[in-house]
Structures are given as C-alpha cells and as structure tokens.
Amino acid sequence: MAEKFDHLEEHLEKFVENIRQLGIIVSDFQPSSQAGLNQKLNFIVTGLQDIDKCRQQLHDITVPLEVFEYIDQGRNPQLYTKECLERALAKNEQVKGKIDTMKKFKSLLIQELSKVFPEDMAKYWSIWGEDHPPS
C-alpha cells in the first residue's frame, strides 16, 4: 500500500519541479529558451498522464474533508490527525468513566436494595439465576 503512495508522490514531485523550472524559464524568457519551453510543456502533459494512471490504484482511498480545510488555511494536516487522536482518547476516557460509575452505582444499589427489600431481591436473583451478567 505504501508503494502506490510512493509512486504518486514521486510523480507529483517531478511535476512540481517541472512547473518550477517552467516558471524560471518564463520569468526571463530568451529566444533560445523556446525549445526548452516546448519540452517542459510536453512534460506537463506526460506528468498529468502519469498522475492520472496512479488514480486507478488509489480509488479505494478516502480522505476526510476536514483535512482540506486545514490545508486551505495553510495549516499542517498532521494537526488534524493529532486532534483526532486527542479527541478519541478524551472520549474514550469519558465513556470509561461513565461505565465505571454506572458499575459502582449498580453494585451499590443492589447492596442497599438487598438490605431494604431482602425478599424481593431474593426473587430477583432467583429469576436471573446464572443469566445475571457479572457486575
């Protein structure tokens, strides 16, 4: 899977370098530069063809739209990954806290109900029997 990303990255780097060199030629154009300009223009077309071929290998890759917002703002897209991981960890801790609190509440409730309503709780345990989930 990393290979197809490497191929695409390589083609994109070559394409960007080609465009940069084209910009240098155009910034101070000379008559002798015409042949080089024509060559660079054809390299642009072949570069786009190569990038288009890479598209078929990456049709199953999905990118979240939020990453594009980071790029449009000029921010590092790795910050999106970092914030996703932080948010996942925070939510994980929050849910774990809720589960632990509910477990404690259940055990405490059963304990107190057994003190106040012993007969009903005996019926309760007899109904659940072995099906009662571990607290």
Partner: protein
C-alpha cells in the same frame, strides 16, 4: 446510598413496608374480583400474558412462588414486582472501558503526533514545495474546497501538444513584470543568529535581483527614519535638561543654594 423509608424501623415495620411495596406493583395474593361478582354479567376472559421480548433464550429459571412458566420468560415473571424487567442487551467485548488506542495498535501514531510538537504551518509539512503555501487558499482562489465544490470541466484524456499548438506559446523576450513574479517568493525561514553571523563572514552574499535590492533598501530607509527621529528627540531632551533656562535645573540649583545657607 440510602433508601429513605420513614416506616422501616424494625422487622414488624418491614413487613408493612413490603405490603406497601407489593401493593404498588400489584399483588398476586388478592386478585381483582371477577366482573360477575359485581353484577355486570359474564366478563371477558383475562388477556394472555405478554410474550417475552427476546424469545426467552437461556436456561429455564427455577419455579417460583409466582408460578412463572417454564422457559426464560423473565418478563412474564413480572406478574410480581418485576413486571418491567426485560432481557439485557447483548454484551460486546469491545466497550469504552478498554483503551481503544492500544486495541487498534495506534500507540506509535499517538506518540508520533501527540508526543512531539507538530509544527503549525503547511510549509513545515511540505518544505520543498515552492511558493507561498502558508497563505489561505481563499486569497488567490487556490483552495481545495473550491475545487471540490466546482470541479473543472475536463475533456477525456491528456493529449500531447502538437507543433501548431505550440506556436501559441511563443513568448516575448525579457523579464516578467513585478506583478507576475510569484514563483521565487518563499516563506521566510528562521535562522539562528549565531549561524547567521558566521555565514556573513564566511559565505559570499548571493546576487540579488534589482527589484529585491530596491525593496530592501526602501525597508531599511523606513526603519532608519523613525530611529533617527527618536535619537534626535532624546538628544534634544538631554540638551534641554542641562541648559540653565530649563525650569527643573534652575529650581534644583536654587534649592541646593538655600540649603547651604
């Protein structure tokens, strides 16, 4: 947690509490009188008990005083005080109580992104990309969002440019106007002062384009002008303080002379 019940004082009081508890949820000991006893005629047969929600999986519970039918019909056992009891939802192995980052083997990624400080700018992620990429895409209409919302209309394939088409790319000789010069502008890179000082003495200064040198000279002049003004003001203030006409100086001399007397 305390279940507050004012009547629950002792065992005798507990029995009374139980009666009230069972009375709240309906008692099997005292079934309602049949409608015939009340003179309304033959009543309808009692409705059948509700079916179990989950189909009653699991082993059959022991027969209770409430005569629960065979099978795990726990909801039917709610003829007593537990008529609201239902089957619990199926338990899953993966819940929020487990550390999902270790479960999905993301520890390395977490340490990589959250352990170290990730730089803010896009140019730190793509250092080799030319141009001013740290600016928002809305400034020069180069945002990815606009590309997704309004995709460009493409032909079908990329065809090479023929000779006659290349005739349209014949350019005039000479440099581009300053408005169009964008490719050479790079975001400013921070350098250590010590290294920068060393490089000044050792490395030769790279040749500057005339437009860049004029721009730098103008900046230097602008920076020097306010500094010159400040220095002049400070000099004037110092001169005024030491002059005999200044009220502050004169008063201080007068006070010193009066003290000597």
């Amino acid at each position: 947690m305390k279940v507050i019940n004012a009547r629950h004082r002792d065992s005798a009081g507990a029995e009374g509490t139980m009666e009230n508890f069972t009375a709240l949820f309906g008692a099997q000991a005292d079934p309602p009188p049949p409608p015939t006893a009340l003179g309304f005629g033959a009543g309808k047969p009692p409705p059948p008990p509700p079916p179990p929600p989950g189909g009653g999986p699991g082993p059959a519970p022991p027969p209770t005083a409430a005569s629960a039918p065979s099978g795990a019909d726990k909801s039917a056992a709610g003829c007593g005080p537990f008529y609201l009891m239902r089957e619990l939802p199926g338990s899953t192995e993966l819940t929020g109580s487990t550390n999902l980052i270790t479960h999905y083997n993301l520890e390395h990624a977490y340490n990589k992104f959250c352990g170290k400080k990730v730089k803010e700018k896009l140019s730190n992620f793509l250092p080799d990309l030319p141009g001013m990429i740290d600016l928002p895409g809305s400034h020069d209409n180069s945002s990815l969002r606009s590309l997704i919302e309004k995709p460009p209309i493409l032909g079908g394939s990329f065809n090479p440019i023929t000779g006659t088409m290349l005739a349209g790319f014949r350019l005039h000789t000479g440099p581009l106007p300053e408005q169009c010069r964008l490719m050479h502008i790079q975001p400013p890179k921070k350098k250590n002062k010590q290294k920068h000082k060393q490089s000044r003495t050792q490395d030769p200064v790279p040749p500057e384009t005339p437009s860049d040198s004029d721009h730098k000279k103008k900046k230097k002049k602008k920076e020097e002008d306010p500094e010159r003004k400040r220095k002049k003001k400070e000099k004037k203030k110092k001169k005024n303080r030491h002059s005999p006409d200044h009220p502050g100086v004169g008063s201080s001399q007068a006070s010193s002379s009066s003290s000597l007397r």
